[in-house]
Protein backbone atom coordinates (compact mmCIF):
# COMPACT_ATOMS: atom_id res chain seq x y z
CA UNK A 1 0.00 0.00 0.00
CA UNK A 2 2.84 2.36 0.86
CA UNK A 3 4.45 1.77 -2.52
CA UNK A 4 1.23 2.79 -4.23
CA UNK A 5 0.96 5.91 -2.06
CA UNK A 6 4.55 6.79 -2.93
CA UNK A 7 3.82 6.23 -6.60
CA UNK A 8 0.80 8.50 -6.46
CA UNK A 9 2.73 11.24 -4.61
CA UNK A 10 5.55 10.94 -7.13
CA UNK A 11 3.11 10.99 -10.04
CA UNK A 12 1.47 14.09 -8.57
CA UNK A 13 4.80 15.89 -8.33
CA UNK A 14 5.98 14.78 -11.74
CA UNK A 15 2.80 14.96 -13.75
CA UNK A 16 0.37 17.58 -12.39
CA UNK A 17 1.76 20.51 -14.42
CA UNK A 18 2.09 18.41 -17.56
CA UNK A 19 -1.47 17.11 -17.31
CA UNK A 20 -2.94 20.56 -16.59
CA UNK A 21 -0.92 22.16 -19.40
CA UNK A 22 -1.98 19.50 -21.90
CA UNK A 23 -5.64 19.86 -20.93
CA UNK A 24 -5.35 23.64 -21.19
CA UNK A 25 -4.09 23.33 -24.73
CA UNK A 26 -6.75 20.80 -25.64
CA UNK A 27 -9.79 22.48 -24.08
CA UNK A 28 -8.67 26.12 -23.94
CA UNK A 29 -10.18 26.45 -20.49
CA UNK A 30 -8.21 26.72 -17.24
CA UNK A 31 -11.16 25.80 -14.98
CA UNK A 32 -11.86 22.68 -16.98
CA UNK A 33 -8.17 21.75 -17.04
CA UNK A 34 -7.87 22.14 -13.28
CA UNK A 35 -11.03 20.17 -12.49
CA UNK A 36 -10.33 17.37 -14.97
CA UNK A 37 -6.77 17.00 -13.66
CA UNK A 38 -8.00 16.87 -10.07
CA UNK A 39 -10.58 14.23 -10.99
CA UNK A 40 -7.97 12.12 -12.77
CA UNK A 41 -5.69 12.15 -9.73
CA UNK A 42 -8.63 11.33 -7.45
CA UNK A 43 -9.40 8.36 -9.69
CA UNK A 44 -5.78 7.23 -9.41
CA UNK A 45 -6.03 7.35 -5.63
CA UNK A 46 -9.19 5.24 -5.80
CA UNK A 47 -8.07 2.70 -8.42
CA UNK A 48 -4.29 2.18 -8.25
CA UNK A 49 -4.29 0.42 -4.86
CA UNK A 50 -6.57 -2.27 -6.32
CA UNK A 51 -5.49 -2.28 -9.99
CA UNK A 52 -1.79 -1.60 -9.41
CA UNK A 53 0.28 1.37 -10.56
CA UNK A 54 0.14 1.64 -14.37
CA UNK A 55 3.47 1.20 -16.23
CA UNK A 56 3.23 4.75 -17.56
CA UNK A 57 1.51 6.81 -14.86
CA UNK A 58 1.81 10.08 -16.83
CA UNK A 59 0.07 8.67 -19.89
CA UNK A 60 -2.63 7.05 -17.75
CA UNK A 61 -3.31 10.32 -15.98
CA UNK A 62 -3.36 12.36 -19.20
CA UNK A 63 -5.76 9.93 -20.88
CA UNK A 64 -8.00 9.74 -17.83
CA UNK A 65 -8.01 13.52 -17.46
CA UNK A 66 -8.92 13.98 -21.12
CA UNK A 67 -11.90 11.66 -20.67
CA UNK A 68 -12.94 13.50 -17.53
CA UNK A 69 -12.75 16.76 -19.42
CA UNK A 70 -14.94 15.52 -22.22
CA UNK A 71 -17.38 14.02 -19.71
CA UNK A 72 -17.65 17.39 -17.99
CA UNK A 73 -18.38 19.17 -21.22
CA UNK A 74 -21.04 16.62 -22.16
CA UNK A 75 -22.59 16.84 -18.72
CA UNK A 76 -22.77 20.56 -18.93
CA UNK A 77 -24.29 20.08 -22.38
CA UNK A 78 -22.43 23.06 -23.68
CA UNK A 79 -19.71 21.46 -25.71
CA UNK A 80 -20.17 23.46 -28.88
CA UNK A 81 -20.61 26.69 -27.02
CA UNK A 82 -17.50 26.01 -24.90
CA UNK A 83 -15.45 25.38 -28.02
CA UNK A 84 -16.50 28.70 -29.45
CA UNK A 85 -16.05 30.41 -26.10
CA UNK A 86 -12.66 28.95 -25.31
CA UNK A 87 -11.13 30.77 -22.39
CA UNK A 88 -7.80 30.99 -24.06
CA UNK A 89 -6.65 31.88 -27.51
CA UNK A 90 -4.00 29.74 -29.10
CA UNK A 91 -1.34 30.63 -31.52
CA UNK A 92 -0.49 27.80 -33.90
CA UNK A 93 2.53 29.45 -35.46
CA UNK A 94 5.59 27.31 -34.75
CA UNK A 95 7.66 28.72 -31.91
CA UNK A 96 10.84 30.61 -32.77
CA UNK A 97 14.07 28.89 -31.82
CA UNK A 98 14.87 30.82 -28.65
CA UNK A 99 16.60 28.07 -26.72
CA UNK A 100 13.27 27.07 -25.22
CA UNK A 101 11.82 23.59 -25.25
CA UNK A 102 8.44 23.52 -26.95
CA UNK A 103 6.40 22.50 -23.96
CA UNK A 104 2.87 23.33 -22.94
CA UNK A 105 4.05 23.73 -19.34
CA UNK A 106 6.07 26.72 -20.42
CA UNK A 107 3.02 28.27 -22.06
CA UNK A 108 1.07 27.61 -18.88
CA UNK A 109 3.78 29.25 -16.74
CA UNK A 110 3.95 32.33 -18.96
CA UNK A 111 0.15 32.61 -18.92
CA UNK A 112 -0.09 32.33 -15.14
CA UNK A 113 2.72 34.89 -14.73
CA UNK A 114 1.37 37.36 -17.29
CA UNK A 115 2.25 41.00 -16.48
CA UNK A 116 -1.39 42.05 -16.84
CA UNK A 117 -2.17 40.06 -13.67
CA UNK A 118 -1.38 41.49 -10.24
CA UNK A 119 1.63 39.87 -8.57
CA UNK A 120 -0.44 38.16 -5.88
CA UNK A 121 -2.73 36.74 -8.57
CA UNK A 122 0.25 35.44 -10.54
CA UNK A 123 1.64 33.75 -7.45
CA UNK A 124 -1.70 32.13 -6.57
CA UNK A 125 -2.44 30.99 -10.11
CA UNK A 126 1.07 29.59 -10.67
CA UNK A 127 1.07 27.65 -7.42
CA UNK A 128 -2.36 26.17 -8.21
CA UNK A 129 -2.05 25.42 -11.93
CA UNK A 130 1.67 24.65 -12.18
CA UNK A 131 2.59 23.71 -8.62
CA UNK A 132 -0.53 21.69 -7.92
CA UNK A 133 -0.96 23.07 -4.42
CA UNK A 134 -4.56 23.07 -3.23
CA UNK A 135 -6.34 26.38 -2.68
CA UNK A 136 -6.33 25.63 1.04
CA UNK A 137 -2.57 25.07 1.06
CA UNK A 138 -1.89 28.28 -0.87
CA UNK A 139 -4.19 30.23 1.47
CA UNK A 140 -2.36 28.89 4.54
CA UNK A 141 1.00 29.57 2.93
CA UNK A 142 0.17 33.23 2.41
CA UNK A 143 -1.82 33.71 5.59
CA UNK A 144 -5.15 34.63 3.96
CA UNK A 145 -8.57 32.97 4.35
CA UNK A 146 -9.27 30.17 1.91
CA UNK A 147 -12.25 32.01 0.39
CA UNK A 148 -10.05 35.04 -0.32
CA UNK A 149 -7.47 32.90 -2.09
CA UNK A 150 -10.19 31.08 -4.02
CA UNK A 151 -11.64 34.37 -5.22
CA UNK A 152 -8.20 35.64 -6.17
CA UNK A 153 -7.65 32.62 -8.40
CA UNK A 154 -11.16 32.76 -9.87
CA UNK A 155 -10.78 36.44 -10.73
CA UNK A 156 -7.40 35.83 -12.33
CA UNK A 157 -8.87 33.14 -14.58
CA UNK A 158 -11.81 35.44 -15.39
CA UNK A 159 -9.44 38.20 -16.42
CA UNK A 160 -7.47 35.82 -18.62
CA UNK A 161 -10.71 34.95 -20.37
CA UNK A 162 -12.27 38.43 -20.56
CA UNK A 163 -9.14 40.23 -21.70
CA UNK A 164 -7.92 37.37 -23.92
CA UNK A 165 -4.54 36.72 -22.42
CA UNK A 166 -3.09 34.29 -24.96
CA UNK A 167 -1.70 30.81 -24.30
CA UNK A 168 1.50 31.26 -26.22
CA UNK A 169 5.26 31.46 -26.06
CA UNK A 170 6.32 35.12 -25.95
CA UNK A 171 8.25 36.38 -28.97
CA UNK A 172 12.03 36.54 -28.77
CA UNK A 173 11.80 40.30 -28.20
CA UNK A 174 9.34 39.94 -25.32
CA UNK A 175 11.00 36.91 -23.76
CA UNK A 176 13.48 38.57 -21.38
CA UNK A 177 10.76 40.74 -19.83
CA UNK A 178 8.32 37.85 -19.55
CA UNK A 179 10.96 35.53 -18.06
CA UNK A 180 11.79 38.29 -15.62
CA UNK A 181 8.13 38.30 -14.60
CA UNK A 182 8.15 34.53 -14.03
CA UNK A 183 11.33 34.73 -11.95
CA UNK A 184 9.85 37.52 -9.83
CA UNK A 185 6.92 35.23 -8.97
CA UNK A 186 9.21 32.32 -8.09
CA UNK A 187 11.53 34.51 -6.03
CA UNK A 188 8.56 35.91 -4.11
CA UNK A 189 7.37 32.38 -3.30
CA UNK A 190 10.88 31.46 -2.18
CA UNK A 191 11.27 34.49 0.08
CA UNK A 192 7.86 33.96 1.63
CA UNK A 193 8.93 30.46 2.56
CA UNK A 194 12.38 31.53 3.70
CA UNK A 195 11.02 34.15 6.08
CA UNK A 196 8.60 31.60 7.50
CA UNK A 197 11.37 29.34 8.77
CA UNK A 198 11.72 28.64 12.44
CA UNK A 199 10.10 26.71 15.27
CA UNK A 200 6.35 27.21 15.20
CA UNK A 201 6.31 28.13 11.53
CA UNK A 202 3.54 26.41 9.58
CA UNK A 203 5.25 23.65 7.58
CA UNK A 204 3.19 24.62 4.55
CA UNK A 205 4.87 28.02 4.62
CA UNK A 206 8.34 26.58 5.07
CA UNK A 207 7.65 24.18 2.16
CA UNK A 208 7.32 27.17 -0.14
CA UNK A 209 11.11 27.29 -0.55
CA UNK A 210 11.14 23.69 -1.77
CA UNK A 211 8.23 24.47 -4.09
CA UNK A 212 9.97 27.56 -5.46
CA UNK A 213 13.14 25.56 -6.12
CA UNK A 214 11.14 22.78 -7.78
CA UNK A 215 9.35 25.20 -10.10
CA UNK A 216 12.59 27.05 -10.89
CA UNK A 217 14.19 23.72 -11.82
CA UNK A 218 11.24 23.10 -14.13
CA UNK A 219 11.64 26.50 -15.77
CA UNK A 220 15.36 25.83 -16.15
CA UNK A 221 14.66 22.50 -17.84
CA UNK A 222 12.32 24.30 -20.24
CA UNK A 223 14.59 27.33 -20.80
CA UNK A 224 18.06 25.78 -20.56
CA UNK A 225 19.78 28.70 -22.30
CA UNK A 226 18.48 31.45 -20.02
CA UNK A 227 21.16 32.89 -17.72
CA UNK A 228 18.81 34.58 -15.27
CA UNK A 229 16.87 31.37 -14.70
CA UNK A 230 20.15 29.62 -13.88
CA UNK A 231 21.12 32.56 -11.70
CA UNK A 232 17.90 32.47 -9.71
CA UNK A 233 18.18 28.71 -9.18
CA UNK A 234 21.76 29.14 -7.95
CA UNK A 235 20.69 31.96 -5.64
CA UNK A 236 17.88 29.87 -4.17
CA UNK A 237 20.11 26.83 -3.67
CA UNK A 238 22.88 28.82 -1.98
CA UNK A 239 20.33 30.52 0.28
CA UNK A 240 18.45 27.32 1.11
CA UNK A 241 21.77 25.62 1.92
CA UNK A 242 22.08 27.89 4.95
CA UNK A 243 18.55 27.41 6.22
CA UNK A 244 19.14 25.20 9.26
CA UNK A 245 22.10 27.28 10.36
CA UNK A 246 20.01 30.40 10.16
CA UNK A 247 17.67 29.81 13.10
CA UNK A 248 18.68 28.90 16.63
CA UNK A 249 16.80 26.42 18.84
CA UNK A 250 15.11 29.39 20.51
CA UNK A 251 13.87 30.71 17.22
CA UNK A 252 16.39 33.53 16.97
CA UNK A 253 17.78 34.54 13.61
CA UNK A 254 21.51 33.81 13.35
CA UNK A 255 23.27 36.18 11.01
CA UNK A 256 25.82 35.12 8.44
CA UNK A 257 28.80 36.12 10.58
CA UNK A 258 27.64 33.92 13.45
CA UNK A 259 26.32 30.86 11.61
CA UNK A 260 27.72 27.39 12.15
CA UNK A 261 29.00 26.80 8.63
CA UNK A 262 29.25 23.09 9.33
CA UNK A 263 25.46 23.06 9.28
CA UNK A 264 25.31 24.31 5.71
CA UNK A 265 24.15 21.78 3.11
CA UNK A 266 27.21 20.87 1.01
CA UNK A 267 25.21 19.33 -1.85
CA UNK A 268 23.14 22.47 -2.39
CA UNK A 269 26.24 24.63 -2.15
CA UNK A 270 28.09 22.45 -4.66
CA UNK A 271 25.22 22.67 -7.12
CA UNK A 272 24.89 26.42 -6.59
CA UNK A 273 28.62 26.92 -7.18
CA UNK A 274 28.45 24.84 -10.35
CA UNK A 275 25.69 27.04 -11.73
CA UNK A 276 27.56 30.22 -10.76
CA UNK A 277 30.73 28.98 -12.48
CA UNK A 278 28.68 28.26 -15.59
CA UNK A 279 27.31 31.81 -15.57
CA UNK A 280 30.74 33.33 -14.91
CA UNK A 281 32.05 31.51 -17.96
CA UNK A 282 29.16 32.90 -20.00
CA UNK A 283 29.91 36.39 -18.69
CA UNK A 284 33.56 35.98 -19.66
CA UNK A 285 32.36 35.05 -23.15
CA UNK A 286 30.42 38.30 -23.38
CA UNK A 287 26.96 37.66 -21.92
CA UNK A 288 25.92 40.52 -19.67
CA UNK A 289 24.87 39.04 -16.32
CA UNK A 290 21.51 40.01 -14.84
CA UNK A 291 20.73 40.67 -11.17
CA UNK A 292 19.99 37.08 -10.11
CA UNK A 293 23.28 35.87 -11.54
CA UNK A 294 25.21 38.56 -9.70
CA UNK A 295 23.34 37.93 -6.44
CA UNK A 296 24.11 34.23 -6.84
CA UNK A 297 27.79 35.01 -7.41
CA UNK A 298 27.82 37.06 -4.20
CA UNK A 299 26.23 34.11 -2.42
CA UNK A 300 28.90 31.86 -3.89
CA UNK A 301 31.69 34.06 -2.51
CA UNK A 302 30.12 33.92 0.95
CA UNK A 303 29.58 30.16 0.85
CA UNK A 304 33.14 29.59 -0.35
CA UNK A 305 34.55 30.91 2.91
CA UNK A 306 35.09 28.39 5.68
CA UNK A 307 34.85 31.18 8.22
CA UNK A 308 33.44 34.72 8.05
CA UNK A 309 36.97 36.05 8.39
CA UNK A 310 37.99 34.22 5.20
CA UNK A 311 35.36 36.06 3.14
CA UNK A 312 36.79 37.65 0.02
CA UNK A 313 35.18 41.04 0.62
CA UNK A 314 36.86 42.75 -2.31
CA UNK A 315 35.23 40.23 -4.61
CA UNK A 316 31.91 40.83 -2.87
CA UNK A 317 32.34 44.57 -3.38
CA UNK A 318 33.28 44.15 -7.05
CA UNK A 319 30.09 42.14 -7.57
CA UNK A 320 27.98 44.74 -5.76
CA UNK A 321 29.51 47.43 -7.99
CA UNK A 322 28.27 45.39 -10.98
CA UNK A 323 24.89 44.85 -9.35
CA UNK A 324 24.36 48.55 -8.66
CA UNK A 325 24.56 49.17 -12.41
CA UNK A 326 21.90 46.57 -13.11
CA UNK A 327 19.66 47.34 -10.13
CA UNK A 328 19.94 50.85 -8.65
CA UNK A 329 17.72 49.95 -5.69
CA UNK A 330 18.73 51.55 -2.37
CA UNK A 331 18.62 48.12 -0.71
CA UNK A 332 21.45 47.01 -2.99
CA UNK A 333 23.34 50.17 -2.03
CA UNK A 334 22.77 49.30 1.64
CA UNK A 335 24.16 45.78 1.24
CA UNK A 336 27.09 47.14 -0.75
CA UNK A 337 27.88 49.44 2.18
CA UNK A 338 28.26 46.39 4.41
CA UNK A 339 31.05 45.19 2.13
CA UNK A 340 32.59 48.67 2.20
CA UNK A 341 32.64 48.50 5.99
CA UNK A 342 34.83 45.39 5.81
CA UNK A 343 37.29 47.00 3.40
CA UNK A 344 37.32 50.71 4.24
CA UNK A 345 36.01 50.74 7.78
CA UNK A 346 32.63 51.32 9.44
CA UNK A 347 32.92 55.12 9.35
CA UNK A 348 33.11 55.24 5.56
CA UNK A 349 30.23 52.75 5.37
CA UNK A 350 28.13 54.76 7.82
CA UNK A 351 28.42 57.86 5.68
CA UNK A 352 27.07 55.91 2.72
CA UNK A 353 24.28 54.34 4.75
CA UNK A 354 23.21 57.69 6.24
CA UNK A 355 22.84 58.96 2.69
CA UNK A 356 20.12 56.35 2.11
CA UNK A 357 17.93 57.48 4.99
CA UNK A 358 15.27 59.22 2.92
CA UNK A 359 14.59 56.08 0.91
CA UNK A 360 15.05 53.41 3.56
CA UNK A 361 13.76 55.00 6.75
CA UNK A 362 10.89 52.51 6.99
CA UNK A 363 13.03 49.44 6.40
CA UNK A 364 14.19 47.54 9.49
CA UNK A 365 17.42 46.31 7.89
CA UNK A 366 18.48 49.93 7.30
CA UNK A 367 18.34 50.65 11.01
CA UNK A 368 19.88 47.28 11.87
CA UNK A 369 22.83 48.00 9.57
CA UNK A 370 23.24 51.49 11.02
CA UNK A 371 23.08 50.08 14.53
CA UNK A 372 25.81 47.59 13.75
CA UNK A 373 28.10 50.21 12.24
CA UNK A 374 27.50 52.59 15.17
CA UNK A 375 28.29 49.77 17.58
CA UNK A 376 31.57 49.10 15.83
CA UNK A 377 32.41 52.79 16.05
CA UNK A 378 31.83 52.70 19.81
CA UNK A 379 28.76 54.98 19.60
CA UNK A 380 26.66 52.83 21.93
CA UNK A 381 23.92 55.36 22.64
CA UNK A 382 23.26 55.97 18.94
CA UNK A 383 23.51 52.24 18.29
CA UNK A 384 20.89 51.56 20.95
CA UNK A 385 18.45 54.00 19.32
CA UNK A 386 19.03 52.45 15.93
CA UNK A 387 18.42 48.94 17.30
CA UNK A 388 15.18 50.21 18.86
CA UNK A 389 14.01 51.52 15.49
CA UNK A 390 14.95 48.24 13.81
CA UNK A 391 13.11 46.19 16.42
CA UNK A 392 10.02 48.37 15.99
CA UNK A 393 10.00 47.80 12.25
CA UNK A 394 11.01 44.14 12.09
CA UNK A 395 8.03 41.88 11.44
CA UNK A 396 9.78 38.56 11.80
CA UNK A 397 10.10 37.41 15.42
CA UNK A 398 13.34 35.57 14.63
CA UNK A 399 14.90 38.84 13.52
CA UNK A 400 13.47 40.72 16.49
CA UNK A 401 15.06 38.27 18.89
CA UNK A 402 18.46 38.73 17.27
CA UNK A 403 18.22 42.52 17.23
CA UNK A 404 17.09 42.58 20.87
CA UNK A 405 20.05 40.48 21.91
CA UNK A 406 22.49 42.72 20.06
CA UNK A 407 20.98 45.83 21.59
CA UNK A 408 21.08 44.37 25.09
CA UNK A 409 24.74 43.47 24.62
CA UNK A 410 25.68 47.12 24.17
CA UNK A 411 27.67 48.61 27.03
Amino acid sequence: MNDVEDAITRAYHDEWARVVAGLTRRFGNLDLAEDAAAEAFATAVARWPADGVPPNPGAWLATTANRKGIDRLRRENQRDRKHKEAQLVFDHTPPEPIGAIDDDRLRLIFTCCHPALAMESRVALTLRMVGGLTVAEIARAFLVPESTMGQRITRAKAKIKAARIPYRMPSAADLPGRVSGVLAVLFLVFNEGYLATGPGADPVRADLTAEAIRLTRLVRALLPEDGEVAGLLALMLLTEARRTARISMDGELIRLDEQDRGAWDPALIAEGHRLVRERLAAAAAGEVPGRYQILAAIGAVHTSARDIRDTDWSQVLALYDQLVNVDPSPIIALNRAIAIAELDGPDVALAIVDGLEAELNGYHAFHATRADLLRRLGRSQDARHAYDEAIDLAGNTAETANLTRRRDQLK
Binding site: V89, A162, A163, R164, I165, P170
Partner: protein, 107 residues
Protein backbone atom coordinates in the same frame (compact mmCIF):
# COMPACT_ATOMS: atom_id res chain seq x y z
CA UNK B 1 -11.72 40.98 -30.05
CA UNK B 2 -12.34 44.67 -29.45
CA UNK B 3 -10.71 46.75 -26.77
CA UNK B 4 -11.59 50.20 -25.46
CA UNK B 5 -8.29 52.05 -25.18
CA UNK B 6 -8.52 55.16 -23.01
CA UNK B 7 -6.03 57.98 -22.82
CA UNK B 8 -5.77 59.16 -19.23
CA UNK B 9 -5.11 62.83 -18.61
CA UNK B 10 -3.90 63.97 -15.21
CA UNK B 11 -4.58 67.46 -13.89
CA UNK B 12 -1.84 67.19 -11.27
CA UNK B 13 0.72 65.94 -13.79
CA UNK B 14 -0.42 66.92 -17.29
CA UNK B 15 1.28 65.40 -20.32
CA UNK B 16 2.84 67.31 -23.18
CA UNK B 17 0.51 69.25 -25.47
CA UNK B 18 2.49 68.87 -28.70
CA UNK B 19 1.64 65.25 -29.41
CA UNK B 20 -0.92 65.61 -32.20
CA UNK B 21 1.35 65.03 -35.20
CA UNK B 22 2.83 61.92 -33.64
CA UNK B 23 -0.64 60.65 -32.71
CA UNK B 24 -1.90 61.21 -36.27
CA UNK B 25 1.03 59.22 -37.61
CA UNK B 26 0.31 56.45 -35.10
CA UNK B 27 -3.35 56.38 -36.15
CA UNK B 28 -2.34 55.98 -39.79
CA UNK B 29 -0.24 52.96 -38.83
CA UNK B 30 -3.12 51.48 -36.81
CA UNK B 31 -5.41 51.86 -39.80
CA UNK B 32 -2.90 50.37 -42.22
CA UNK B 33 -2.32 47.37 -39.90
CA UNK B 34 -6.03 46.77 -39.42
CA UNK B 35 -6.28 47.51 -35.68
CA UNK B 36 -8.08 50.87 -35.84
CA UNK B 37 -11.85 50.82 -35.33
CA UNK B 38 -12.47 54.28 -33.87
CA UNK B 39 -10.58 57.19 -32.36
CA UNK B 40 -11.70 60.43 -30.77
CA UNK B 41 -10.25 63.14 -28.57
CA UNK B 42 -12.57 64.27 -25.81
CA UNK B 43 -13.48 67.80 -24.76
CA UNK B 44 -12.70 68.88 -21.22
CA UNK B 45 -14.68 66.99 -18.51
CA UNK B 46 -16.28 70.32 -17.56
CA UNK B 47 -18.18 70.06 -20.84
CA UNK B 48 -19.87 66.84 -19.70
CA UNK B 49 -23.42 66.45 -18.39
CA UNK B 50 -24.78 63.56 -16.30
CA UNK B 51 -28.41 62.53 -16.65
CA UNK B 52 -30.14 60.44 -13.98
CA UNK B 53 -33.61 59.34 -15.00
CA UNK B 54 -33.85 56.29 -12.79
CA UNK B 55 -36.42 57.89 -10.50
CA UNK B 56 -39.48 60.07 -10.85
CA UNK B 57 -37.85 62.87 -12.78
CA UNK B 58 -34.84 63.30 -15.02
CA UNK B 59 -32.05 65.02 -13.10
CA UNK B 60 -29.26 66.83 -14.90
CA UNK B 61 -25.82 67.49 -13.36
CA UNK B 62 -23.18 69.78 -14.78
CA UNK B 63 -19.78 68.06 -15.06
CA UNK B 64 -18.39 64.53 -15.33
CA UNK B 65 -19.83 61.55 -13.40
CA UNK B 66 -16.56 61.18 -11.49
CA UNK B 67 -14.74 64.13 -10.00
CA UNK B 68 -11.08 63.24 -10.05
CA UNK B 69 -7.62 64.53 -10.91
CA UNK B 70 -7.34 61.83 -13.59
CA UNK B 71 -9.87 61.84 -16.38
CA UNK B 72 -10.53 60.56 -19.87
CA UNK B 73 -8.71 62.58 -22.52
CA UNK B 74 -9.57 60.46 -25.52
CA UNK B 75 -10.66 57.01 -26.58
CA UNK B 76 -9.76 54.48 -29.21
CA UNK B 77 -11.46 51.25 -30.13
CA UNK B 78 -9.01 48.66 -31.46
CA UNK B 79 -9.55 45.24 -32.98
CA UNK B 80 -6.79 42.87 -31.83
CA UNK B 81 -6.47 39.06 -31.71
CA UNK B 82 -5.34 38.98 -28.07
CA UNK B 83 -4.20 41.10 -25.13
CA UNK B 84 -0.50 40.84 -25.91
CA UNK B 85 -1.05 42.56 -29.26
CA UNK B 86 -3.25 45.23 -27.64
CA UNK B 87 -0.72 45.86 -24.85
CA UNK B 88 2.18 46.19 -27.27
CA UNK B 89 0.24 48.83 -29.21
CA UNK B 90 -0.83 50.49 -25.96
CA UNK B 91 2.80 50.73 -24.83
CA UNK B 92 3.57 52.62 -28.03
CA UNK B 93 0.47 54.76 -27.58
CA UNK B 94 1.46 55.69 -24.02
CA UNK B 95 4.87 56.88 -25.18
CA UNK B 96 3.45 58.74 -28.16
CA UNK B 97 0.64 60.43 -26.20
CA UNK B 98 2.87 61.01 -23.15
CA UNK B 99 0.02 59.73 -20.98
CA UNK B 100 -1.15 56.59 -19.19
CA UNK B 101 -3.31 54.28 -21.26
CA UNK B 102 -6.02 51.87 -20.09
CA UNK B 103 -6.82 48.79 -22.17
CA UNK B 104 -10.23 47.33 -21.40
CA UNK B 105 -11.90 44.52 -23.32
CA UNK B 106 -15.48 44.76 -24.56
CA UNK B 107 -17.57 42.00 -22.98
Amino acid sequence: MQYLVSVIDDMSNPGKTDRRPAISEFNERLIADGYWVFAGGLANPDAATVIDNRGEQSVFSDGPFLESKEYLGGVWVWEAPDLDVALALAAEASKICDRKIEVRPFA
